[in-house]
Amino acid sequence: MGEIVTDAAIMAALGRQMTKAVQKQAVAAGNLANLDTPGYRAQEVSFADALEGQLATPALVATDSNHFGVAAGVPERGQTGDAPGLAARRDGNNVQLDKELLSLGRAGGEFSAAQAVLSAKFRLVRYAINEGR
């Protein structure tokens, strides 16, 4: 059976991307806030946990061919863990300013990209609602 990509699935995916970006920004902001806290370990959204969270979620099943497309993996779950492989300073803190700022900026870009596509989708929907006017 051919996979049909529905609007709902696309929008859910975009929503997930935005949520992920927000999570990354929040974690980077927390790290930056603790730039000078002795003993603080830089946190990051761990990919493995995030993936597991997505896979472990029981996806809804379309039991009828008339059902609308079901968005897979609903709740977004991000877990944070110590970021590996960072050199710690003498006070035990291993936050790296450039890395965190980069992560903030990149997450902002990802969010913007998803937002642009999502608002294009919304425009289409509005166009349809207004009967093309």
């Binding site: 927390g30 806030a33 000078d36 877990q79």
Partner: protein, 141 residues
Amino acid sequence: MSTLLSAMNASASALDVQRARMEVAVSNMANADSTRGADGQPYRRREVVLESVPGEPSAQFRGLVASGVRVAAVVEDQADFRRRFEPSHPDADAEGFVAVPNVDVPEEMVDMLGAARAYQANLTAITLIRDTIQRALELAR
């Protein structure tokens, strides 16, 4: 959204803390030669102790929280006062030495630079988060 706001709060707490660090460094430098304090002793160098504050765990993002930071304490540096030979000084001891504060001005300068940098970084973070919120609001247009 609330995650973004909590992230912004974390950055704001850092701005607060860095400003406190700056104030303490400035106070240390201002008093680098104060040989008499309220207790009659020379001024003692002060230091800010920072502490990470775990944010409120959110139900939606299990375990994901932006941790803020706060000033845990301002402690006095217990290092010995430095001694300067200045027999004419009113606070000089019998041997002609004056106890001067244990403040090292270059060290304070470095500390202040660090605080200014960290302040800047957190301000940038706030700007970026604000942009993200702005983008999210644009969806509603």
